[in-house]
Amino acid sequence: MATSKNIKAVQKKSAPFVSSVKSVFQNYVPAPESSDHIQLKPQYNLFINGKFVKPLSKIYYDTINPATGNKIASVAKGNDKDIDAAVKAASKAFQSWSKTDPKERAKYIYRIARMIQERAREFAVFETMNGGKSIRESRDIDVPLAANHFFYYAGWADKLEYAFPNRTPQPIGVAGQIIPWNFPLLMAAWKLAPALATGNTVVLKPAESTPLTALKLAEIIQESGLPDGVVNIVTGFGDCGAALVNHPKVNKIAFTGSTPVGKLIQKSIAGTSKKATLELGGKAANIIFDDAPIDQAVEGIVNGIFFNQGHVCCAGSRLFIQENVAEKVIKKLKDRMKTLIVGDPMDKNTDIGAINSQAQLNKINHYIKLGQKEGAEIFQPECSIPSHGFFCKPTLFIGTSQSHRIVQEEIFGPVLTIQTFRTIEEVIEKANNIPYGLSAGVWTDKGSKIFNLTTKLKVGVVWANTYNKFDPTSPFGGYKESGFGREGGVHGLFPYVKF
């Protein structure tokens, strides 16, 4: 058989195995996730009032796989009239949904959670194909967290009177929800679950570049028997989102996306009675003290900025290292980066997948050029990146300062800026010295130091000796220009009730 020839071929009789070692692990043989079990349709319609309907404009647009640049499917392009139909459906459904026995409401949400679990692999493959994130992350993080989010909030539906001391909570009405392209399924879960549990109805507008997992979720919602109109999903572009924000029958807006758009939304609804929550950008400080567990801190840095290709609002994109350990940390970081694999997101060994779009890649490259122009020292490990599709190597900028534009502005890619600091007061001041305030990381072995920092950092989430950890029970949201309102935990119920 050919295989015994293989065994012979890889071994030199006299010398030990040194010569074959290089090929053992230097390039892991491709290990692609199988995708032949998924059900991909060539064309996707809008989900309004419990049915899949054609867009009123009759226009469809292409959605692509950013790892290849190739089209995956055609997706309906919703417009303001479709939004109107969806909001009307949600409004009508609200009459009965808000009066449905909470225990029964919970059961629909439990069903959705269970069905996501049952079809987890298919969701993961879709998420990776449409968005570019590695299959390892969509399989191990995005999809399980999404299912768990529905589970958690399902349990609140019939217990709301316990969550608000001395108040009887009521649902608000129709929620208009606009979500981004970096965690398409997870953001849909973060928005839908608390809204439904509290008795509201929803019109959801997914990001234009990543509509597929939301539409898959629509299939599950239909199968779960959820009453028509309780959840409506309208795919489309920015005009669609604007129509949703401005629709008079929408009572609450939930938006996750960039700070500039968030500000626009806040301005648009001024003077109306619409409630809003905004989850916007960030430029988080990740702070390493000299008494940190250094090897684990380096891993935390890597998770902080290269997780999801750095397309994370709470990414630890500003690294602060206490000066007396800076050299050691930077060396270890560079060594660790050399083992990161940039490649086909469908390969199980890929650490860093594709950048979500050409536009985003252009933006990241623009910042990389800017950083070099600003005089910062750049480091990128030697690694191969695919020749097609949108890819970016993990990048460090060493020796930066607060005044560098690459330090102040959100890049939203696998690019980390590095500054040193000498004292606690200094790093607290620099960490806070930015209009954003979403998250921060603190690495030190000393407990009392952790709590000192957590009280002083002006951010909504502090990770101590860890990074990028999410849980449905844990509230998430920002200070300052990173937005307001919380998602997750008990506090995640507040934005969806009135008293």
């Binding site: 015994s4 293989n6 065994i7 892991y28 090897d295 684990q296």
Partner: protein
């Protein structure tokens, strides 16, 4: 007496997360096969039982040189590992092969004995022909904070070893925390160890990936400081080829190519070899294999 020894602090949860990440690596096809052959060549085939006899040792040595003669192109294991009083038997049985002989010594496994006896134990092993010595550290002294004692003992044993390579067994299962594992690793390395080894295999837990990762990190830091390579041997508890591959992934991504030979990395194992042969049998014949076709020696 100076009771302090400063080693870097280790976050256990962080270590476990890094290990979990290694375990998501998917090693397939040629990579997998090459990895398994490499793993075979890194095994210290071990028998350390009270009931060991010359017969047992001879049979194991034959297996060490002839893992499965019906599959072409297999390597031998790296070494055999026995008690000092069986070294002579092993030496004779392994004549002409390049399989090394490692002997445990220093009142293995407990190490609860005098310096005099431990040195004598090493002398016997070497006189009988051992190429390598696997010693145990004094865990009691370590946990009592007598780090100088632990250090001096290792240095003395190293001296007695002469040209023989010294592996220092930390018995991580008794050290309880990863901070302690790191500290013991550093002490052993600085005191002269050629290899640091996780366990005697006589207690649970034996080798685990988190403990191994911490030890690899100690070796890396030492190499970055001094340019000197130290070897590593996880022992006990690694019985499947899947586990062995996971360890090799961890080794590769932490220390790199240079360590990917049996000069610098060993598996202390007894049943691992047969599990790898089972997998190789599948590769050769294309169907899932059975233990009936692989010798048990």
């Amino acid at each position: 007496m100076n009771k302090s020894w400063i080693s870097p602090t280790v976050d256990q949860v962080g270590v476990e997360e890094r290990v979990a990440r290694f375990n998501t690596r998917s090693v397939k096809k040629e990579s997998k096969m090459q990895g398994m052959l490499l793993a075979l060549n890194m095994i210290d085939l071990t028998t350390l039982e009270g009931k060991d006899t010359a017969g047992k040792v001879k049979q194991m040595c034959y297996k060490a040189m002839h893992l499965a003669d019906d599959i072409e192109g297999l390597p031998t294991v790296a070494a055999v590992c026995v008690y000092p009083n069986h070294v002579k038997t092993a030496k004779k049985a392994l004549q002409g092969s390049n399989v090394k002989i490692a002997s445990v010594a220093t009142a293995f496994p407990s190490g609860n004995s005098s310096r005099k006896i431990k040195l004598e134990d090493v002398k016997i092993a070497l006189t009988n022909g051992a190429d390598e010595v696997d010693m145990v550290i004094s865990r009691g002294e370590f946990l009592a904070g007598n780090y100088n004692f632990v250090y001096d003992e290792i240095a003395a044993i190293k001296e007695a070893c002469g040209n023989a390579r010294l592996k220092v067994i930390l018995e991580t299962g008794e050290l309880s925390t990863l901070d302690n594992v790191r500290k013991a690793s550093d002490i052993a390395i600085y005191a002269g160890a050629d290899f640091i080894k996780t366990s005697t295999g006589k207690i649970q837990p034996a080798a685990t990936m988190p403990v191994t990762l911490v030890m690899l990190q100690a070796i890396k830091d030492y190499y970055d400081e001094t340019g000197i390579m130290i070897g590593m041997k996880p022992a006990g508890g690694i019985s499947t080829s899947k586990q062995a591959l996971q360890y090799l992934v961890m080794l590769y991504e932490t220390l790199g190519e240079k360590w990917m030979t049996n000069e610098w990395f060993r598996f202390g194992a007894s049943s691992l070899a047969n599990d790898i042969l089972l997998q190789l049998g599948k590769e050769k014949y294309g169907v899932y294999y059975s233990g009936d076709y692989i010798s048990k020696d």
